[in-house]
C-alpha cells in the first residue's frame, strides 16, 4: 500500500505547514477530518496551535474524539501529535480553566511557573535531552535544536517521555507510547532536524503492524 498521511483538519492552525514538510519528504498527504480518510491513511498527524479548550470543542463538534481514539488507541494506527496536538493527549489542561483532553496518556497540561529566570512563552530553538533514541530521534544528536512556541507544558509519567528540554527546569519535549508519538516542538518548523524527525516517523509508520497487516486483508 502506498503510504498516505492524513493531517487532521479541525480548524486549529498550521495544517498546511505540516503538509508542506510531508510533501518535501516525498510522501502523499491530505488535510481532512473525514472518517474514510482517517481510516484509510497509513498514519495520522494532529497539529495544532491555539487554545486547548477550543481544540477539544472542535474535535467534539467534528465527531473526531471517539473515531480517533478507536483508530489510534484501539487499532494502533501510527499517530504524531505536534505542539497543542501533544497536549491534547493528556487527561486535562488548566489553560483558561480546567478542560478534559483525549486522555490517551496519563498526563496533565500545566502552566510554566512564573520566574525571573525565563520568559513565557517559551519561544525559539532549544535542544533536547534524548531519553529514547528510537524511532523518532534516530540519527539526531543531543545538540540538535528544535523550534518551540508555547506557554503551557505537559507533565506525565517518566516512562512515556522520549526527550526533555531545559528551561529553568526539565520539561517534556516529546512522548511515545506504542504507536503514539508527540512533540511539544514543531518539527515542521525545525529545519533539517525537524525534517529528519518527520522522516523517522514516516519510516516507523510505513513498517507499523497496523499497516503491514492490512496489506494481507482482502479488499
Amino acid at each position: 500500500m502506498k503510504p498516505r498521511i492524513c493531517i487532521i483538519d479541525y480548524g486549529m492552525g498550521n495544517t498546511q505547514s505540516v503538509g508542506n514538510a510531508i510533501q518535501y519528504l516525498g510522501v502523499d498527504y491530505l488535510i481532512s477530518s473525514r472518517k474514510e480518510d482517517i481510516l484509510t491513511s497509513t498514519a495520522l498527524i494532529l497539529p495544532g496551535v491555539g487554545a486547548f479548550a477550543a481544540a477539544m470543542d472542535n474535535l467534539h463538534r467534528l465527531e473526531l474524539v471517539d473515531l480517533l481514539t478507536d483508530v489510534v488507541v484501539g487499532r494502533g494506527k501510527p499517530f504524531l501529535g505536534i505542539c497543542l496536538g501533544m497536549q491534547l493527549l493528556a487527561k486535562d489542561s488548566v489553560e483558561l480553566g480546567l478542560h478534559s483532553g483525549l486522555g490517551w496518556i496519563e498526563g496533565h497540561v500545566i502552566a510554566f511557573e512564573p520566574s525571573h529566570e525565563v520568559r513565557i512563552p517559551h519561544v525559539g530553538w532549544n535542544n533536547c535531552h534524548i531519553r529514547k533514541q528510537e524511532p523518532l530521534f534516530r540519527n539526531l544528536a543531543e545538540d540538535a535544536h528544535f523550534y518551540f512556541d508555547h506557554s503551557f507544558h505537559l507533565s506525565c509519567p517518566h516512562e512515556l517521555v522520549s526527550a526533555t528540554f531545559d528551561y529553568g527546569g526539565h520539561f517534556v519535549a516529546s512522548v511515545q507510547k506504542d504507536n503514539i508519538f508527540a512533540t511539544q516542538f514543531h518539527p515542521e518548523k525545525s529545519q533539517r532536524h525537524g525534517l529528519r524527525l518527520l522522516r523517522n516517523f514516516l519510516n516507523f509508520a510505513a513498517s507499523a503492524p497496523a499497516n503491514t497487516e492490512r496489506e494481507n486483508e482482502p479488499c
Binding site: 505547514s17 520568559r119 513565557i120 519561544v123 532549544n126 523550534y147 512556541d149
Partner: protein, 257 residues
C-alpha cells in the same frame, strides 16, 4: 545548553520585491523575497520576518502568495506583519503559512485586536511590533514614544508602558524597532531595548540600526534582547547569517549552529 538567542533577517516587501530604506524612507531594491528567504534559510537563519510595507490595499494579496511560496520551501518560523487590521487579516496570514503575525498600528488604534487575536489563535502567534523614537531631550530622563503609520505619527504613548500593556492583552512577543536607528547602521538603541526587555516577561526582538556583528552581541548582552533582527547587513552581502551566529557564539552567546 538551552534556549538559543535568535538571529532574524527582516525582509521589507513592497510590490513583490524586498527593499530597504533609511529611517523608514529612501527605498533601495534588495531582490526577490523567495530567493532571499531560501538563502537565509541555507545560512541558518532562526526565523524570517516579512514586513509588508505596501501602501495600497489592493496589493495586499501579493504578500499572501509570497508567504505561501516561502512556506513551501523553507521550514523555519515565518513572522509576517504590515497592514494587519483585523482578526480576519491574522487568519489569512496564518492560513497562507505565517507562524506568527505582527500587529503594529492597529494595536494602537484598536488594542482589543491584540486581545481578540491572541484569544482566537493563541498568544504564541501574536507579535506586537512597536516603532519607538526618543522624545526626551539631552539631559532629561530617557523617554520613548510609540509612533505609527510607518513612523509618521507620534501617538504620545510611552513605549515601555505600551509594551507592558500589550503583554497584558496577550502579545506573545514584542518586536521593538528604534526608529532613530533604523537603517543607520550605528547599532541598536540599547537603552530602549533594555528598558523594554526588563519591563516585560515575554520575549523581545531588538530591531533597528545593526551595522556590524558586535551590534548583535550588544543587543543580547547589553540590551537583554532574546532575538536580534537585521536587514541591510545581510541583504547586501556584508555578512552571512552564519558569520553572525559564529560571532555571537565566540562571545559566549548560545546560538543554534
Amino acid at each position: 545548553m538551552g534556549l538559543a538567542k535568535r538571529i532574524i533577517p527582516c525582509l521589507d516587501v513592497t510590490a513583490g520585491r524586498v527593499v530597504k530604506g533609511v529611517n523608514f524612507v529612501g527605498l533601495r531594491d534588495a531582490g526577490d523575497p523567495i530567493e532571499i528567504a531560501r538563502r537565509y534559510d541555507e545560512q541558518g537563519a532562526d526565523e524570517l520576518t516579512f514586513l509588508d510595507i505596501t501602501a495600497s490595499s489592493d496589493e495586499r494579496d501579493i504578500i499572501l502568495h509570497i508567504i505561501e511560496e516561502v512556506a513551501n520551501q523553507v521550514f523555519i518560523p515565518l513572522t509576517v506583519g504590515g497592514g494587519v487590521r483585523s482578526v480576519d487579516d491574522v487568519r489569512r496570514l496564518l492560513n497562507a503559512g505565517a507562524d506568527k503575525v505582527g500587529i503594529n498600528t492597529a494595536a494602537v488604534t484598536t488594542p482589543q485586536l491584540v486581545a481578540d487575536a491572541s484569544a482566537r489563535f493563541g498568544s504564541q502567534c501574536i507579535v506586537v511590533a512597536i516603532d519607538a523614537k526618543q522624545v526626551s531631550a539631552e539631559g532629561e530622563p530617557l523617554l520613548w514614544h510609540v509612533f505609527t503609520h510607518g513612523g509618521r505619527r507620534d501617538t504620545g504613548l510611552d513605549a515601555v508602558a505600551w509594551a507592558k500593556k500589550m503583554e497584558s492583552l496577550g502579545a506573545g512577543e514584542i518586536l521593538l524597532t528604534s526608529m532613530d536607528r533604523d537603517g543607520t547602521k550605528i547599532g541598536f538603541n540599547l537603552d530602549l531595548t533594555r528598558a523594554v526587555s526588563d519591563a516585560v516577561s515575554v520575549p523581545v526582538i531588538a530591531s533597528g540600526g545593526v551595522g556590524n556583528l558586535d551590534h548583535l552581541v550588544d543587543g543580547v548582552k547589553k540590551g537583554h534582547a532574546d532575538a536580534v533582527l537585521a536587514a541591510s547587513i545581510f541583504h547586501y552581502g556584508e555578512f552571512t547569517v552564519r558569520q553572525a551566529k559564529e560571532h555571537m557564539a565566540r562571545n559566549q552567546i548560545e546560538v543554534r549552529l
